[in-house]
Structures are given as C-alpha cells and as structure tokens.
Amino acid sequence: MNNNVDMTPLQNVVPLHWPSGPIEIARREKTEGFNTLIRRTLERWHEPAALEIAKDTPVDCIVMSWAAGLPVDAEQQRTAGPLLEAARRRNLAVVGWVDGTADHHAAIAAASKAGLAAVAIRGFKGSADLPVIAWSERANVPWDLAAPAVAITGNVWPGVSLASNAGDASSGPTSLPWLDSNSWYIQMARARLKAPLWVMFDPPGKGAVVPARSYARAICDSEAAGGRWVISLDDNLRAELAAGTAAAQESWRQITAAAGFFKEHAEWKSYRSLGLVGVISDFSGGNFELSGEILNLMARRDLLFRVVWKSQATGQLFRGLKALVYADAGPPDRALRRKIADFVEQGGLLVTGPNWGTEGKPEPPDFQTQFDVHAVGKGRVAVARKEITDPYQVAVDTQFLLSHRNDLVKIYNSASSGCTRFTASPDGKTALLQCLSYADRGRGGLRTIWVRQRYRSTRLWTIGAQPVPLDPEASEEYVGVEYHMPANAPQSYFALEFAA
C-alpha cells in the first residue's frame, strides 16, 4: 500500500489529538459525565479559531475523528471543512482517524478529497492515494506493514500507580511503588519498526484535573523510549484553552515546551540501547505477555536492556551484551540456539526456561533463585527449574546473576525513578542518559549520577533550558565518575549527553 505516496511529512511531526465535531459528540453522549460544557468544547474545537492554540508551538499535526461507521460521519467530514482550511493555512497536517465500522475506502477517498495529510486505519491492506497510518492495539501490531507511521493504542498513563490503597501509591512485589510506563513497549516496538511510532493514550478520566507536569511526564516517557505520544488533553484543559484562561495557557506552554524539546532532538531516536541484557523473544501470544512483562519490570528496576526480536536475532551481533534472556515457551531454532550457545561459550550469561536443558558444572548462586546455574565454557547458563511464570523474578534474578558489579549507571536521590535510558549514537561518538521521575513529589535531595565510563565532555539537557556543561567529580568509593546535578535541575526529566 501507499506505494506512490510520500511518507516523509509525518517523520517528526508533533501530533495533537483533536476531539471535535459530531462524531466525538455522538460518542461522548453515551458516556458517563457528559455535560453541556463537554459538548460546547467539542463544538468549539471544531471551529477554526480553536487552532490558535497551535500558534508558536511545535504542534504541527492534529489527529481528528474522520469516520467511525456512525450516521454522523458525513456531517463530521462536511463540518470539518473550515477547520481543515484553517489548518492548511497554518501548515498543520491533519490526520483523519478511522475506526468502528467505517468503510475504509470511502473514508480514504473523502480524506483525500478534503486534503488530509493522512488517515489512520486499523487493518487496512489495500492501496491508497494518501498515506495510511496503521493503528493497532498493542498485541496485534502488523509489524511488517509498510506505513508512514504506526499508532499503538492500549497504553497507560505514565506515573506512580494510584490504582489501589485509597490514594496511597500502590506497591509492587518489593514494596517499591508501582510505575505505569509505556517505555518497555515502545522500546520493544522500536526494535522492530522502521516507521515512526505514535503512542496513543488519554489522560485519566472522570473529570480529573491533570497537572502540566503529568503531561510533560507522558511526553518524556514516550520520547525517551523512542516513541511519540499523540498529545491528548483532558476535558477541563481543552475547555479552558478554548476559553483562553491564563492557567490553561501556562499548562499548554509547559506541555508544548516538552514536546518541542524532543522534536528538536529527533536524532536521539536513532540511538541504540547500551543495555547489557538482551531479551530475545518473538513477542507474540503468551511470549508477548511474559517477555513483555520481563521488559517492563527490567525497565522499572533500571536494568538496562536491549530488545532482540527472535526473527532478527541470528542476523544481529550480540556485541556489548553480557546476558541474554530467552523465556519463550518454544525452543529457538537450531541457528539461534547455536548463536546463543556461542555467546555463552565466550563468557555470556543465558537466563532461560527449563527446555534449554542442563549442561556444565553446577555453580550455585549466592542468593535464592528459581534458576539452576551451570558454568559452560567461559560463561554461565541459568535454567529455570520449572516453567517460567513469574516475570518479576526473571528480572530480579537476571540483575543479580549479572551483578551490580557491571552497572553502567547509578542514580542517587532520584524519586521514583525507573525506565532510565542509556543509549549511544549510531557512530558511537555520543552517549545519552535520560532519567525520568514518575513521582509528583520528589524526595528533594540533590541527585548524583554515577557512570562507569569517563567521557570527554558532558552536557546537561533539561526541558526549556540551554544545555549546561557538567564536570565529573571523582567517585570516592568505586570506579567511575560522578556528576552532581544542580539543585535547580528538574526532578521529572533530564538528559546527560556524553561526548566519547
């Protein structure tokens, strides 16, 4: 599909979800809490004047409902005319979202006629005369489809989970607060996709007032992992933006500042993970559930990983990896098994399920683990005693089997950190450490970043500020160097850019 269509315009756009018009009203009317303010806001956002919020911001694309198989589809498209014309004058690309039982070809034809930049359709396999973004739920992505962008639904709102305990941060298995993040999934998808990855999720519902810092966190969570969130504003903020309140405009300024920061650093998305643990999987069916959750929990523990799709594994070099995790239910094919075995022979660690079999000399670890460890060649194989069902234990045990002696990065005094990304440019001349905090309130302490390697120079990047050179401090008690974050550096996100 899209054989003769220019797909480049969507490469680095900043898309904003643009709920407006009859389709959105028809949908929302059936939902709890719908009121006249929401209706009025959806109407106002269907008017050209609403686009004024995009002025002087990095937002250069809006994503609006185009066809849903509803009786109001035609009205949506007809009444969108003035909005589309205004968008064209402002150089805003418009993507039409197609879902429900809408006729794909009719929707595409109407979009093409109306001058949309693209449409987003789930499961479209035909040809079209304008770009068709493939949208899909997480578990059913058409990985090999050629598309100008892939939009994934079913994601989470990033933050410390408040799902239980009466407003107290809920705890994971180790009493650590549970973090909701899309980082692992985006990293997994980015390892497979060539097209830009759009991450779709909405703010918490039920009329919640979402602070600007939460929006910024949502942007950082996606961008640091290599994805792009289709910015989606809550009802209150959209209403207040339409009304032009100062508070809403300040929130919007902060949101777009975060979006602009990453738009200006688009090259960071090409950086590769420096993680020492490769997680091999086909990430489908039950393997997606298990290995995906292993990635999620590794990210939460800041165990830096590299995603290795099974279909690509034999063609990849395992250079730089110290451990591999293979938790898929089925065995690897002969070539991949040989490649993994070679990795172990040369000193690597393999963490895998019971089907791998046992060989080598027993080498019991010094902590309680679900794995039997054997020395094989220069390396080790950790084989689960029974079928792997607990991804958390895989993440924990892998980290201990690998040992913190191999840590590349440590972060001191970071509040509810996790999903730290440490990547390097394709030429290896630049390394990038991106640190996020998922807590709304930090511990408040001064943060220290320890890195194993000494670099030629280092710059601190924060959103909305010029980069600041940072000098390393000698690490008193261990190898490596430390960087002292300035007291005014934000807790929520910062990046250290190292020149090798």
């Binding site: 298995p173 180790t174 009493s175 010094d366 902590f367 309680q368 924990v396 201990f400 040992s403 913190h404 002696r405 840590d407 440590k410 972060i411 001191y412 005094n413 970071s414 511990r443 408040g444 302490g445 001064l446 220290t448 320890w450 401090e473 690490s475 008193e476 008690e477 261990y478 190898v479 430390e482 002292h484």
Partner: protein, 396 residues
C-alpha cells in the same frame, strides 16, 4: 531504676512489677572504659587513631585472638539514598574504610575469621551485591585480611540451621526471644560499627541501636507470612518493629504483651535493649569523623552533613553509647521528654535495666581525649526534627 506509673501500666500490664520485673530489677549494669580520639579523616589517621584506642582499651588480642569476629555495620535505608552529594559512608552509613581498617587491625590482633554482616533492609541477595549497588567496592573489605566474609543477615543463613533463637536475659522488655541469623550464633565476638547520629524514633543511633538491623526481615519484616519466615525479604521493619501492627510468624516468639503501646518511641528502644542483652556486643566503634545531624538518614531539610571529627570506642556498648551521647551534647541519663528522647524512651536506660551496662558517666572511665574537648552539639546543627508517622517509616 526510675519508672512512673504510666510507664509501669503501659509497659508491663496488670501483672505488675512484682511478677514481671524482679529479675530485671536485680540486673546489675557493668561498666567498662571508653576511649575517645580526635580524627578528621578516613585514611591512615583513622587507622592510627583506632589502633591507639584499641590499646587504650587493653588491646584487641585478648578479645579476638583465634575467634570468629562479626562486624555489624550499619547500612540503613535504601542503597541509593545520599545526604546531598555525599557518599553514604560520609554521612549516615558505616564508612567502608573504617570497616577495612578495623578488619586489618583485628586480623593483626589474631582474629581467626572476620565476618561483616548487615541486614540490608529488604535486599533479597548478598551483602556484596547491596554494596555494589550502593557504590562500594566489596574488595576493599574482602582484601583487608584473609578469611573475610560478607553476610546479609536478612537472608536465611546457609546450612541446616538458618536461624537461631536468642532468649533475652531477664525476660526481655518486648519480646522474650528473637530469631536471628545463625551467623550471630556462630560469632564469638560481635563488633558494632556505625555512625554517631540521631534517630527520629529512638533519639540516637549508637552502637546498640545498630542492633535493630540484626533482626531478619524474613521474620520481622513487612509482608512476612503468618506461619513461617519468608524465603526472601519483602519489606522493612516498620509493621512489626515500629508500629506493632502485627506479630512475627508463628514460628518465632510473639511479643510478651500485645496490649503495650503501639508506638515507635515505646517499642523501638525496647527492642534495641532486648537485642543488646540477647546478643552481647563485645566492641563498639562509633564514627563521628563525618556524620549527619537531625536523623538517622537523609530527611530533606531535617538533616545536615556534619564533621565532628571524633571517634568513640569501648568494650561495653552502653558505656560507649553513654559517652558518645555526652560527646553529642546530650545527657545519657535523660528520660522521655528530654532531648534527644522527646518522643521516646531512653534506650540506654532500658539496656541498663537488662544488665547490659551503665549509662552513668560518673561510673565510666574515659581515656584519650576528654569529652569536653571533643563535644559537638548535634542540636546546633540539622533542621527541624521530624518523627516518622506510624507505619510510614521508609527504612529500618
């Protein structure tokens, strides 16, 4: 022993003093000399100062020769917490170079085997891994002498007997006995090494407070099973230790009286005193070269890094702690309501009642630098004091 009626009723129940306390009341509290040294740094100066203090205490050979020596260090809280930018060893943890230095000195004095132990909060793996995560180089300790081991006593001890029961002499204040890692039973000489610092719940952290960390979080930690110890730690010690909101697993002794106050300021000092009586400390080494004022670990504006430049050591933990309190500008005879025990009972008094040692400075011989010359008033530093709300303490 002074005790008001409220403490009597709250602490010992209707059974009354005559039934519960006679043995404790009879316990005599020994004394032992305490050495003080000025010391500004953790290198050769520390080694020389500590060696001199050991000599002033009668030499270490008589204490450790041919023995298994266990160094209980203090790595409280999470492994990635710092006071400002400073490494933990310079503020609220035992400094790794003091551990290495003491290992070296005790090895020279003839120790047969030296074990460095800590119940590293809810860490489910080796102590070595905890140290690595925290930025320590374990080899600094492992290579300080032959036959050095690192043991996380939160985990079941290797071998057939993971835990050993330690009855509290004279019946104990809160628990009649504690189930601890068998590493402590295999020890001939227990050395308590930690910072001189305050404590939000117990007033001060000194050598006997350091013992709170010997309670394994597989038994005394949050989220442990009802019947048996957990295979690995799942949380800190706040539920059973501080709040008293539940009992240890049924396999371990329950509290003597579950009607006593469910308050950290009542419970923690008693647990500490119990442990000090059940697991005798033979050598206390307190580091006030660099430390923290305001609490036992970084607490925002409440805590400040300080450099008192002093070491205190002794062979009786209570006498040593009493002298250290005096160095901190506190009165070791102070009771609840008076600094630093504004919201808690005096741990030293409770330990003295169990016969561990005297806190009466008039009965303690001080060698080396005089107290008045090294006094460093902790309350002139640090920020506003904060107590941990029940059940919300982030570490233990």
């Amino acid at each position: 022993m002074s005790m008001n009626r409220r403490e009597f009723m709250a602490g010992f129940g209707a059974a009354g003093l005559a039934m519960v306390q006679p043995a404790r009341m009879r316990a005599t509290a020994p004394t032992a000399p305490v050495a003080i040294a000025r010391c500004k740094s953790y290198g050769a100066e520390f080694l020389a100062a500590t060696g001199k203090m050991f000599d002033q205490l009668g030499g270490m050979g008589r204490l450790v020769k041919g023995k298994t020596v266990t160094l209980k260090i203090n790595l409280t809280g999470g492994e990635t917490i710092r006071q400002d930018y400073l490494p933990q060893g310079r503020t609220f943890w035992t400094h790794p170079r003091t551990v290495a230095g003491v290992i070296h000195l005790l090895d020279k004095a003839g120790a047969r085997r030296i074990r460095v132990v800590e119940g590293a909060w809810m860490w489910p793996a080796s102590l070595e891994e905890f140290m690595l995560k925290a930025g320590w180089d374990p080899n600094l300790l492992l290579r300080a002498a032959p036959r050095v081991e690192l043991i996380n006593t939160n985990m079941p001890h290797k071998g057939n007997k993971p835990y050993t029961r330690f009855p509290v002499p004279h019946g104990g204040h809160l628990f009649p006995a504690y189930d601890l890692s068998t590493a402590y039973a295999e020890s001939d000489v227990l050395v308590s090494m930690n910072k001189i610092k305050e404590h939000a719940t117990a007033g001060v952290t000194l050598s006997i407070k350091n013992l709170f960390g010997i309670t394994p979080t597989t038994i005394y930690g949050n989220k442990v099973p009802i019947d048996e110890p957990a295979p690995i730690p799942y949380g800190g010690r706040s539920d059973i230790g501080h709040a008293g909101s539940r009992q240890p697993p049924k396999s371990s002794p329950a509290e003597k009286d579950a009607t006593t106050p469910r308050q950290g300021g009542y419970r923690i000092p008693r647990i500490i005193a119990d442990l000090a009586a059940a697991v005798p400390v033979s050598l206390a080494i307190l580091d006030g070269i660099e430390t923290i004022a305001g609490a036992e670990l970084p607490r925002g504006e409440s805590t400040k890094a300080i450099s008192p430049g002093v070491l205190v050591a002794g062979t009786n933990p209570v006498t040593t702690d009493a002298v250290a309190m005096a160095v901190m500008g506190f009165d070791p005879m102070a009771d609840r309501g008076k600094a630093p025990f504004e919201t808690c009972d005096n741990t030293l008094r409770l330990a003295q009642e169990l016969g561990v040692g005297t806190r009466d400075l008039g009965q303690i011989e001080v060698t080396g630098a005089p107290i008045k010359d090294v006094r460093f008033n902790f309350r002139e530093h640090g920020g506003p004091r904060q107590s941990w709300p029940p059940g919300r303490r982030p570490s233990a």
